[in-house]
Symmetry: C2
Subunit: 379 residues, 2 copies
């Protein structure tokens, strides 16, 4: 059989760093990638086969873009799913399927889905407005999550006590029991049209000892074989029950009792999978490509333990980006810098990431913290 | 110190697969790459920041191209070195240095250099024309090599006996003693402006048991520690004596007595280094980039034993390329396909390569041969 992937055009909605890293994999397969993004300076711009500047939430823009592609996928959730539904009806392959993107866009729909399908998740109550949240003072401590258009922390509010209730969202949201978790982990799963399904080894978030911040991510997660297996089963279960094709990052809590609770999912490559480029036999970006293009999935085994540190713009610096400490970092064995093609830095803007490979997990963690100190993005 | 590699423009003379793979590394550093190539469909075309179609051997073309770059390098030897000399005089960084490219372009100059610098190489005689070659019948068996413009086998003629003398080149050439070698190996070395120098682990050519053809390349080479060390020393010695900055592939023979003889060098990434993308801590392409951009060199250790199989267009097929056997191949753990962006296949055209990772070297060789059987490029 002759497989002609290079004859198919893949369109990606979103032209950020996730799409950029998918293109980096696609180059090896001669697959032409079309990108749609509102930003003319989008990270994908210069390496895409074709770039269209336009709004991802606009029906006509997405529809016109999609007509020139054979297969469509996303690298960001906030897209016009009606246009994708129309394109799918007209015979385009759209993965993830539009109704799944739509479900995931709404955190309330997401949580209901877990509940209805016996997927373990923290208890929650749907709330239509602030008054409804305020009525749940017995449910605290809790997390108030906006139903739609919450991204990267905007749309999530922790309510420790009644004093916090005034911060509740004035819009359809949910109130979820605050989990006293032991660990936060993530499992990325992929599934293709043929139903082939596999999971990447769980990744763990390393928290700052006192501040409630994630310092870096590392794999393999330091969890028991039992918890490891359970986490993978839960992630695969979500994928199967969604009947989704594509790649799905499942963020989970491991409770003090070793139970798994699904926190959130993202139907695209995810920050918790960046290390896979150097650390695993197949990267999440390659896997995303394979899953939507109808190719066989790749092996996800870890080759070497790895940590991933995000490179965020330093606070107090805005302007043309400069990377401080690059030479020192890249002179080290097993340190890999990925810059995202963004010329301008702003405080906390995701400008790149660094992956560290190291066989000894304690040495790995030490190196990850050291890298965080060495590399700074300033202007 | 703030290192601003992303503010420098790198120009590469040549837009083939070697340049394409350098660009794949450069993407991670936000380094903009300009490409010059005569072919409008060159492999680099769609992923280069800027592409100029033009002749690499033309002075004005190369000079005008180079004026818009900060740093210049090559991915093919046959370029106009006078233009590069002029650009270097005008303050551009040109690596490899033009006089070194010029020396290597001429096999006679190359061999003289080895002789004058005590670099071990097979005995040879310079010959100005066919008559001069014919006068060397006592020197046979030998290899007749054209001085200039021999590439990929064109310009090399084996003279087993007097009967072959009529095939000798009618142009300045050299006659080199045919080496009864035990193995053919290759060592790639890199050196930056700061004088930092390191070598990749030696790679071995695996020959067909009867036909005199290389079936695949693999690393680590199956040579003694002593030969391994000697090979690396010789390669570094060549680099140091050339005082070259950039990357140099040194092809060598290991004689029946375990001696090293330098066969040829290439001042650019080389076929014998393709496996390094997945197999080593740093790839040769990344290393090429680092060496010419003034960045610290990367660690070259092998992570996993690897083999590399070239994907050449099947004999008898010309036209739009189709890859037969792709699915079967990429479903295997540790198999990596790299297609070079060439739409049209021709018999024996270099269309891509496949790298196989496998801890057990005998299993590795078996898998390499199996992959050769599975993947075919047809039209």
């Amino acid at each position: 059989m002759q497989e002609n992937y290079q004859q198919k055009t893949l369109g990606i909605l979103g032209g950020g760093q996730l799409g950029r890293m998918v293109i980096q994999s696609a180059i090896n397969y001669n697959i032409d990638i079309h990108i749609l993004d509102p930003d003319q300076h989008a990270p994908c711009r210069h390496i895409a086969h074709a770039f269209t500047q336009g709004k991802l939430t606009d029906f006509d823009t997405v529809y016109e873009f999609g007509k020139n592609c054979d297969i469509l996928t996303i690298e960001i959730e906030n897209v016009n799913t009606d246009a994708l539904e129309q394109l799918a009806k007209e015979g385009k392959k759209v993965f993830p399927q539009p109704h799944i993107i739509k479900l995931i866009q709404d955190k309330r729909e997401q949580k209901q889905f877990y509940k209805n399908h016996q997927i373990p998740t923290a208890d929650f109550i749907l709330t239509d407005n602030r008054e409804a949240v305020k009525a749940q003072s017995d449910f605290l401590p809790a997390v108030n999550k906006l139903g739609k258009e919450g991204y990267d922390g905007r749309g999530v509010q922790v309510l420790h006590s009644e004093a916090d209730l005034d911060k509740a969202f004035e819009a359809p949201s949910l109130v979820e029991k605050l989990v006293d978790f032991d660990k936060e982990i993530s499992v990325i799963v992929a599934r293709n049209e043929q139903g082939e399904l596999n999971a990447f080894p769980p990744v763990e978030c390393a928290f700052h000892p006192t501040a409630n911040l994630v310092e870096f991510l590392f794999a393999p997660a330091q969890i028991s074989d039992e918890v490891n297996q359970k986490a993978i089963e839960v992630a695969k279960d979500v994928m199967t029950k969604l009947d989704m094709v594509g790649i799905l990052a499942v963020e989970m809590f491991v409770t003090q009792d070793g139970e798994i609770l699904v926190n959130e999912v993202a139907p695209r490559p995810h920050n918790s999978g960046h290390h896979t480029i150097e650390a695993n036999f197949t990267s999440q970006f390659e896997q995303h490509l394979r899953s939507v293009m109808g190719m066989p999935l790749g092996n996800t085994d870890l080759r070497t333990p790895a940590a991933m540190v995000n490179l965020l713009g330093e606070d107090g610096f805005t302007g043309e980006a400069l990377v401080e400490g690059m030479d020192e970092a890249i002179h080290e064995k097993g340190v890999y810098i990925h810059l995202y093609g963004k010329k301008i830095t702003k405080p906390f803007r995701k400008m790149g990431h660094v992956t560290i490979l190291e066989e000894n997990v304690e040495a790995l963690k030490y190196k990850a913290l050291k890298i965080k100190d060495i590399i700074k993005i300033k202007a």
